[in-house]
Subunit: 611 residues, 2 copies
Amino acid sequence: MIDTFKQLLIGPPLPTGRIADERLNKIRALAAFSPAALSSIAYADQEIYLGLVVAGSAGLSLAFPIGLVITVLLVLIALSYLQTIYGYPGGGGSYVVSRENLGELPGLIAGAALLIDYVLTSAVSLTAGVEAICSAFPALWPYSVEAALLLLIVITVLNLRGLRETGTLMAVPVYLFLAAYLPLLAYGTVRILAGVPVVSAPTVAPAAVPLTAFLVLRAFASGCTAMTGIEAVSNGVPAFQEPQAKNAGRTLMVMAVLMGVLFLGSIGLIQSWGVVAGADETVLSALCRRLVGSGPVYVLIQMSTLLVLAVAANTSFAGFPQVATLLAKDGFLPRQLMQLGDRLVFANGILLLSAATAALIVAFRGESHALIPLFAVGAFLAFTFSQAGMVLHWERARDTRWRLKAGLNGIGAVATGIALVVVGVGKFVQGAWITVLGIPALVVLFLGIRRHYAGVAEQLSMARTTALCDLPAPRVVIPIAGVHRGIVDAVAYARSIATDVTAVYVEQEPGSGQRTRERWGRWWPEIPLVIVSSPYRSIVGPILDYLDETDRNYDDGQLATVVLPEFVPAKPLHALLHNQTAWLIRTALLYRRRRLGFQRAVISVPYHLGR
Amino acid sequence: MIDTFKQLLIGPPLPTGRIADERLNKIRALAAFSPAALSSIAYADQEIYLGLVVAGSAGLSLAFPIGLVITVLLVLIALSYLQTIYGYPGGGGSYVVSRENLGELPGLIAGAALLIDYVLTSAVSLTAGVEAICSAFPALWPYSVEAALLLLIVITVLNLRGLRETGTLMAVPVYLFLAAYLPLLAYGTVRILAGVPVVSAPTVAPAAVPLTAFLVLRAFASGCTAMTGIEAVSNGVPAFQEPQAKNAGRTLMVMAVLMGVLFLGSIGLIQSWGVVAGADETVLSALCRRLVGSGPVYVLIQMSTLLVLAVAANTSFAGFPQVATLLAKDGFLPRQLMQLGDRLVFANGILLLSAATAALIVAFRGESHALIPLFAVGAFLAFTFSQAGMVLHWERARDTRWRLKAGLNGIGAVATGIALVVVGVGKFVQGAWITVLGIPALVVLFLGIRRHYAGVAEQLSMARTTALCDLPAPRVVIPIAGVHRGIVDAVAYARSIATDVTAVYVEQEPGSGQRTRERWGRWWPEIPLVIVSSPYRSIVGPILDYLDETDRNYDDGQLATVVLPEFVPAKPLHALLHNQTAWLIRTALLYRRRRLGFQRAVISVPYHLGR
């Protein structure tokens, strides 16, 4: 029944041979790798606005300058990642680049940062998407957590099904988004240049706090979240059509330009028009409303914002399982993460990401603003490590123009390193500390997991096994709860494998032992039955004690085998009506280590009830 | 570790011989059996008040008359239960009396009603107790659900420990409560009789609805919750000192008188003084405040109200597991409910009651007023059935004065029957329907459970076993995940019980099968290894298919035994780092029924990791 439901939800299993090796042209590649980067204006604008509005109109007048600095940084990072694309045509994720060039520990730090970054991309995109739609329909605000979780469930199920066939479908929101915002921003810019008077705006509230350098830095730090999606293209080089590196490089450049235009354009218009957002609206929504009114065009734009953010969240569902699998292959994460699921996707990684995202959405009450301080630290840490790694990569390679390449990566590393410090310090108290502590905690976990696997591998090595020895025929003990049809098969089985068979009955009610002995004697007079009393009414304890005692008495170096008559109800729900004694005994026997060496074997002989 | 925590929480296990047979004198018996009855004024007064206040002062002027009718009913029920005490000196709970005299179905209906009634007593008492203390400290109102759950946890743990040693302690709140309220009511009555002018009261809001007969009936129905605890004494006759019936009877009478005095006194004063309660206060609290001000005496009275209500909730923890055990003994509830726990209490019944109470508290947001409509139906249904049963009991017994006794019980049955109809109809829409539907649903469940047990008993009967047959030596199949130290013991064990041994390896990655075959041949060249491929990457499915196929090929009427090498990590948490393949295979094998008759035996051979 569970299988049927699973198939309905995610589709029938696919054979391993069906792993597709599809290549993307530039148009589809842009749609595949850019959503996280492009959609970031939805929350980055908002964060710059919220960071500055507390300092009144003087604060807001710095929005565009901050936007400019971020755009310059964006250009530096883009140029830097262009080098990565040529240096790692096989796909240069931060984990791989850091590990190969800087060493294991930096690689693990980058890996931890990446994992955290993917979870936050997913959580921030979903909450920001819900906020875009709530801005259009304020009645939805109270349900923002539920709405974000619903979106998350849809995305999770789609990814568990495997998204290949819907790849083209994913491109629609991205181009819809571009088709909505590019003309909108052009229209706004033209109106300003044409000198059309700005519609009377609600005046900004007076400054609540003075405009300090720290406040500006913090606004800059928040705005840096705009860049979190930029490394996607360099991860995905192998998915491009030939010539791969060239196509990927061009796509990266187009993406960076689009991102710069969207970001600078929107921030510039917000500042020029003096756009102010109320409590239940994002500043981007307020900007749209100012330009196109509150009619159907506005609603359509908010819908396209929601959709592109949902697609952005979806990109994490490709990236996270991939990094988790790489870490698992190197023994730093549980092996289950590298298992291909029924639909040829890393289902465990998808489920883990989904659970982590849901936890963040609930813990931060669905507010993207509360999540943002955690966000950029992971991304910028991964950037810095990966670009510093690239500098060393070029230095080793020493191919043509390696100095230029290393120089560009070096500038990128320094710039993102500075941004990392600004983000970490500026937002530390508001939540960046969670990421700053979370990354080393993850690294410690990675190392602990590898240590465990190494220990297991050593213990399982056949190298330590010198000779195989034969075991004598087992002694068998059968715990019985009474004389009934359910134990007949177990007794027969015990006799088929051993001659030394004993039954044991735990007496909870005085007198029941004698009655059981009489009934037992009628059926199996030749098999001894031992009655042990249980003053504390426990069943498992007395059986364990009896087994220990009997092993001591025999003193043959063997542990008696236990044959458990297991009673299987016709329907799973019926199990609620029966004591799970066999299960308890089996678990106690299997998981209690009695001594070194050969452990006690436990034989389950099921007896199935017909109804 | 779990064991240590459990012992810390509920204490070390007690031997069965320690079941105490303690007898209560009248003073302690009153404390043991009366809390639910006496404390009911805390919510019954409130309900009558809330039911009438909507009709303004005209409505409130009916409070005392309604109180009088309820008191008359109380007297009739008390006289009726007095007969039960003499008729059933061994303890006459509604389930036993109904079952013996009216038949099985009425017994089950009474049993279902009682179980529901116990859960509601517990939930209503706890929420009303929290409301008493919130009236004194209104800042606590937002935390009323949490407070009620906290109380519930404390009571649950105390009951799991076994309450014997604290029996005397339980008497303190009851006598404290009497010591607080009896003088208070006397003082109020004296002041009214002495003609002390009533302090100017806040005037009652004008009538919101007209004073209809239905409204009066509904207020009466709500007030009837005052009587829900009255049957406790007749259940507990065996706990009294000799002469048991006489002592129990006297205690019942004292309890009824105290209850009448408390109830009529408080309702009378509330009406005479025109006490009106605000939104965040109970009317009983408002009455106390009017009489003694808001000083420490008032707070002390509210504390004693909370305590006595907590003790009242506690009485359900004695009654519910007892009734559940009786039903379980007759096969109507899961057998686990009759297991004596470590501390000689019916731990499963206690936990079930606690869970049900918690669910009610949460579902009804901790408001006693919302729970009340569900409450009285169960109690009055049980009353009616039990007293009707007593009429038949006397008719059959025909001892001295049987006509008088039967008459008293008959009057009781008719009176509670009428009250039952009033309560069921008057409160149907507000929530009584839940109980009205819940009781038959429980009865259907009871019958279903007994049908299941009867079916199981028939299938397990040795009567159907004609002859015991011997099994041949088993064929053994060992599923392996690779050649490593963890399978050595399993192979050795398999060879100790069988000569026909085959290993089977599921190939998920192409090529891994050949590698495994080579390694296998180095260690066990004489044992055949079968490689099965798994295009869908599943492990369990191909193993099941292989077993089916091999059984078909042998065609010897046997199912191959499976020897599972089970890999046990040193710490339970480490299990997260390994695939639970052995567990999955074992579960699939045990719970999948392959055919009629003898099922497949599964042998677990554990290999314990040292770290």
